[in-house]
């Protein structure tokens, strides 16, 4: 009888520790963009929320962004942007890695695919975020294809055998875009990011060459209209991005689904994610586990 009780006790202890491990084990997320700043724009707020909750986030860009400027370029610009990215990463609490493929020349080659497979494996990712293969920049489209191609192959030991394969295919998501063809972005997950919007703006501001030089230039904004000191710049960026876009109906529906008890009229900023069919397919309750900021008690 004593034995039975002891076994029973052991069983209970065993169960609680695995449950705890599951609950306490930080999630590992890798977001993969084409250029330094892509992940910040589309995932910066959610990344900051993950990070604040103790989860591990990495941003990876497949090019070094060395074509993204009107007056400079090449390795000089690449290194400038790498520094900017590191600064942004510190603000968001994420690791930032910039690969050295050339900006404006990204192709879905096997070399880059294998680079991505290695990075996903090394990060031991539970969640991988990528771009959709339809977007305005060919680098974005090709980055999207490359990440899709890594899905599943990350578990195949004979592929990139120098880096141990993952045991399980991670869950793959796409970061938001507004393109309609061949089908519009499906807002499967919505994350309200108002709490961390300041951090996101600061992280964006860290990409100085983009926010205050190249981006405005491509939009025909006159340099004279852009403030020079950093406080004014933050405010300028804040006016540009913080709560400036009205949500459309599908976005509102997605927010309502994930925040049923929240007053939607008060929501100013949110990020949206689409589940990719090529990764592990989670059930709805698993989705909430993958985005723990969506649990009602954390809202």
């Amino acid at each position: 009888m004593k034995n039975v009780i002891i076994i029973f006790l052991f069983l209970i202890i065993g169960f609680t520790t695995t449950a705890q491990e599951k609950e306490n084990k930080p999630l590992r997320i890798i977001a993969i963009g084409a250029h330094p700043d892509d992940c910040d724009f589309k995932f910066g707020g959610t990344a900051a929320l993950f990070s604040e909750m103790g989860h591990k986030v990495k941003f990876l860009t497949l090019t070094n962004g060395d074509a993204g400027h009107q007056n400079m370029g090449g390795g000089v610009l690449g290194n400038r942007r790498r520094k900017e990215a590191n600064k942004a990463g510190k603000i968001l609490g994420v690791e930032y890695e910039v690969l050295d493929n050339h900006d404006g020349e990204l192709l879905p080659s096997l070399e880059v695919r294998n680079q991505v497979i290695r990075k996903i494996r090394e990060w031991n990712a539970d969640i991988v975020l990528g771009l959709r293969p339809n977007d305005y920049h060919p680098d974005h489209r090709n980055a999207g294809i490359i990440v899709q191609d890594a899905a599943y192959l990350v578990i195949v030991p004979n592929v990139a055998p120098d880096t141990p394969a993952l045991k399980k295919n991670p869950v793959f998501f796409y970061m938001n875009d507004n393109f309609q063809k061949p089908y519009p972005f499906s807002r499967d997950v919505a994350v309200v990011i108002d709490k961390v919007m300041n951090k996101k703006i600061q992280a964006l501001a860290a990409h100085e060459s983009q926010m205050f030089e190249w981006g405005p230039w491509t939009n025909g904004v006159k340099t004279e209209t852009i403030p020079e000191n950093s406080e004014e710049r933050l405010e300028w960026l804040n006016n540009k991005y913080n709560g400036r876009r009205e949500f459309n109906q599908t976005e509102l529906n997605a927010i309502k689904t994930w925040y049923p008890s929240l007053d939607i009229s008060g929501v100013k900023n949110a990020e949206f994610f689409e589940l990719c069919e090529y990764g592990y397919q989670p059930k709805k309750e698993e989705l909430a586990q993958l985005f723990p900021m969506l649990n009602r008690k954390n809202n």
Partner: protein
Amino acid sequence: MKRLLLLFQIICWSILSVNGQNNNEEIRIIAIGAHPDDADIRFGGTAALFAEMGHKVKFLAITSGDAGHQNTGGGALARIRRNEANKAGEILGVEYEVLSNHDAELTPELHIRHDIIRKIREWEADIVVTHRPVDYHPDHRNTAILVQDAAYLVIVPNVVPDTPPLDTNPLFIYVEDHFQKPNPFKKDIAVIIDDVIEKKIDAMSAHNTQMFEWLPWTRGISLEEIPRDSQGKKKFLENELKRRFPEKKAFDEEGVQAIRKWYPSSSINRINHVEFFEICEYGRQPTDAEITKLFPMLKTKK
């Protein structure tokens, strides 16, 4: 008047002979998968039916499958898989060819497109079968792109001029998958394969490294859970087929409609295994009557 009669006679003869030819005409099918076993899993039953009726079926794997295992790989694995494929081909009554492109590294390059154009032409294919360009494995997607790119170009003499072009663009069809974006698989054609399901499962079993080692491993099934005796293995594969396409057990609405369309007098409840196909827009666009000619098993099934 005499002349008119003669003309009439000639017309009659020619109609008769064309019809006669059609009745006996051999249909030539080439099923192109990314890996040795892809065609078997999704087209094996229909292939066996074609073969039993005397038509000529060829399976072509674009990669050697040399990455598809947890404990072996490279040329050694490719050799094993080529042997498995030949064994499966014998069971189904089809020719099986395995190209030597590396598994998990297939990209839609021109030289592979040209190989595929040659293979389709050499087989003088009436029907070409392949994946859709949406599927879980990049090799499947790229195979689909390569085969789609061969559609139409197989009739262009200036493309791959070392191999005479086909006179007409074949019918291109996709095998079933469950992916929804950008559009779900369309069940244009349904083929009931209950009569040959044993053959299909035997052919799948021939891919021993895949069915009982690698694929279970990727799904976290331990080797101990896999039956060792052939009867148990068959049962295991039958369950796998059901798991892959759950609607095979209870067909979805579109599936039922497709079955009714091609087997109007059949009773759905008695059907267990069906292979569905979607018609690709880039090949010949057949009428329903032409489909029953190209898939003669659709006429004979009661």
